[in-house]
């Protein structure tokens, strides 16, 4: 009896945390898309990433949650905020002349994507995805992830490092070309 009460209280707590995290996830997602100032959009994305980390913790992915906070909400967003501060807080000009075919098409395409996802998940998920199995206590811990990364998925690990290196070199090359282009833009393009 006592164990049953404890289990149901824990279940309710998980549901409450899930509902709060899911609400803040969707609300901050809408905020990212709807702010006109990119600085506020970036701040809303930090909130989005934090609530995603809570979701990952609920899914017993501790290492991924920690990496999310460190890599995304830390490093990537700091880079974003630096670039936004460098470019300056430019607002997007309002659309002139009412909704164009492009904006209407964009809304239609996003709605179609959403409907497609819901239909695909609903068709596949009915009856299959309801159960919530138990996983071992080691699932998702840093030690377990590290062992899996360096044994089963070693090639993916190495390819990821090469991709990061190529991207860093590409960023440096993009920046240095632009610096040479400033004094005489005509000469550098010919």
């Amino acid at each position: 009896m006592n164990a049953l009460v404890v289990a149901s209280v824990g279940n309710g707590l998980v549901w409450i945390v899930w509902v709060v995290a899911g609400f803040s996830l969707l609300a901050s997602g809408v905020a990212v898309v709807s702010f006109s100032n990119p600085f506020y959009s970036a701040l809303a994305l930090i909130g989005n990433l934090a609530s995603l980390a809570v979701m990952y913790l609920l899914l017993s992915a501790e290492f991924v949650a920690a990496a999310q906070v460190l890599v995304y909400a830390g490093a990537v967003m700091v880079m974003f905020l630096f670039v936004i501060a460098y470019v300056g807080p430019r607002r997007e000009e309002a659309w002139s002349g009412g909704p164009t075919w492009q904006s209407v098409g964009a809304v239609l395409a996003a709605g179609a994507l959403l409907v497609e996802i819901v239909v695909a998940v609903g068709l596949q998920a009915s009856g299959h995805l309801g159960s919530d199995g138990k996983v071992g206590p080691a699932f998702g811990t840093p030690a377990w992830i590290g062992r899996v990364f360096l044994t089963d998925h070693l090639l993916a690990f190495e390819i990821t490092s090469v991709v990061l290196l190529i991207a860093a070199v590409g960023g440096v090359i993009l920046g240095s070309h632009a610096r040479r282009g400033v004094p005489n833009p005509e000469a550098s393009t010919r």
């Binding site: 824990g10 998980v14 549901w15 899930w18 899911g22 996830l25 969707l26 997602g29 990212v32 898309v33 702010f35 990119p38 959009s41 994305l45 995603l52 979701m55 990952y56 609920l58 899914l59 992915a61 991924v64 990496a67 890599v71 995304y72 990537v76 974003f80 670039v83 997007e92 964009a106 809304v107 996003a110 994507l113 959403l114 996802i117 998940v121 995805l129 309801g130 919530d132 199995g133 996983v135 699932f139 998702g140 992830i145 899996v148 990364f149 089963d152 998925h153 993916a156 990821t160 991709v163 990061l164 991207a167 860093a168 590409g170 960023g171 440096v172 993009l174 920046g175 632009a178 400033v182």
Partner: protein, 102 residues
């Protein structure tokens, strides 16, 4: 630990992907387009991790970490492009940037 089943997480991920796709399609500031792209990548990550939990398979979490690294490199190149555009005194508007049009 119990709580919501994996279908709830997939539903949230689908909504987040739709919001991100709307942002990519409708906004014209390349910085906000990149931020919306991050939303889409993160919704895919959420779906991967939910399915990894559901099927008790670690490959989903490993793939989510790989997606995170690819997203970091995408941000690196994208922000490099934004800085290059700003140095050339071009307007930050994805509709007016048509120099690569064939």
């Amino acid at each position: 630990m119990s709580g919501p089943g994996v279908a709830w997480y997939i539903a949230i991920a689908g909504f987040l992907f739709g919001i991100g796709a709307l942002g990519v399609l409708i906004r014209r500031n390349p910085l906000i387009v990149l931020l919306s792209l991050e939303l889409m990548l993160n919704s895919a990550n959420l779906a991967l991790i939910a399915f990894a939990r559901h099927f008790h398979n670690g490959a989903g979490q490993v793939f989510a970490l790989a997606v995170m690294a690819v997203a970091a490199s995408e941000v690196c190149v994208g922000l490099g492009l934004v800085v290059a555009l700003n140095r050339k005194r071009l307007r930050l508007d994805v509709d007016s940037l048509s120099e690569l049009r064939g």
